[in-house]
């Protein structure tokens, strides 16, 4: 079942407005949320579990959304909060950086057939190695969020977003360089 069919989840007695809003948000942001979930998890099935958790959290949180921020900011706040909760429940390591450990060869991944996808896979693996505070900032930046949006999602200052982003980029560059 794909998202468009699944997201219509036969909501007979659900709030129709919330359901429509959720449908639209998941359709527009599904791939971005899946990428976010992947950055917090190690396997595809964990990623999918976390995505389900995020969808449920959104279902519950949407009726309380009063437009204090953009929908996308709200969506990513809820998603990150649920991801933090997921880490706690699964005691997932926040993975300290280890530049010496090799990145997996993405060519071995049959799903990453195209060159860009292979590069993407390599980048995702490298991002996954970053400590969480840097990982959060870089993934949100790569989802085209502004400093102020990232600050509003994570609850830090814009200056701090800049500091974290610079550090994240350095670490990421180092990881990618070491494993060319």
């Amino acid at each position: 079942m794909n998202l468009s069919t699944a997201a219509s989840f036969e909501a007979a007695d659900a709030e129709p407005v919330v359901e429509q809003q959720l449908n639209r948000l998941l359709t527009e942001n599904g791939p971005a949320l899946l990428r976010l979930a992947a950055s917090y998890t190690n396997t595809t099935s964990d990623r999918d579990d976390l995505f389900q958790d995020i969808a449920i959290a959104l279902w519950k949180a949407l009726p309380r959304f009063r437009g204090e921020s953009s929908e996308r900011t709200f969506l990513f706040r809820v998603a990150h909060n649920r991801a933090i909760d997921y880490l706690r429940r699964h005691r997932a390591p926040t993975i300290p950086i280890d530049p010496d450990a090799p990145l997996r060869d993405s060519r071995l991944n049959p799903e990453a057939g195209l060159a860009q996808e292979q590069q993407g896979e390599r980048l995702r693996q490298a991002i996954h190695r970053l400590p969480l505070p840097y990982r959060q900032v870089i993934t949100l930046t790569l989802e085209e969020m502004s400093y102020s949006e990232i600050a509003a999602i994570l609850g830090v200052t814009e200056t701090n977003v800049g500091v974290r982003l610079n550090r994240a980029r350095q670490l990421l560059r180092q990881l990618l360089e070491n494993h060319k």
């Binding site: 389900q52 909060n81 933090i84 969480l132 505070p133 994570l154 980029r169």
Partner: protein, 187 residues
Amino acid sequence: MKLDAELELWREQWQSSREAPVLTGLRKRVARESLYMRIMLMADVLVTVVIGGATLALAMRNPRPATIILAATTWLFITVAWIFGLSNRKDAWSPSASTTSAFLDLSIRRSRGNLRAITFGAILYAVEMTFCLSWVYHESGFLSSTLIIIITLITLLFAATLIWYRKRKLTDLTYLSNLQRDQSAAE
């Protein structure tokens, strides 16, 4: 390579994964979680109504000093438990759209609240059991071996559950505190 060009390239690579998520049984999970939450909310009320109501009914049907003391003390325990429960949960409400940093704070407060509740639960259980056994002894003049065995088994089970739960919550708290420390270190 220019920094912005680098970021742009990474964005393209990052977003090259356009996989659409699959959602299955979402509605069922929402319903199941909502039901579970309602049951948890109702559990406190149910205990109050059943135990408090039973002792009150006993005191009204058979108004003797012993039954009145039983009802009054039971309601005292219930009141203390409710006051503790409400004050302990006061700061642990869920800001659905709060920031990740605020959510982390909230999760830590909840974990600490859970640990306080475990200590409170252990103390309340000990006081209640002492009172109940004293009351039974006062009423019947002895404590049967069957009753003592049952109470011992219940106490052991309760203690084991509390120890397991406390260990779990301590691990949660340590994990969350480390996460918060990592976040602060990045500032």
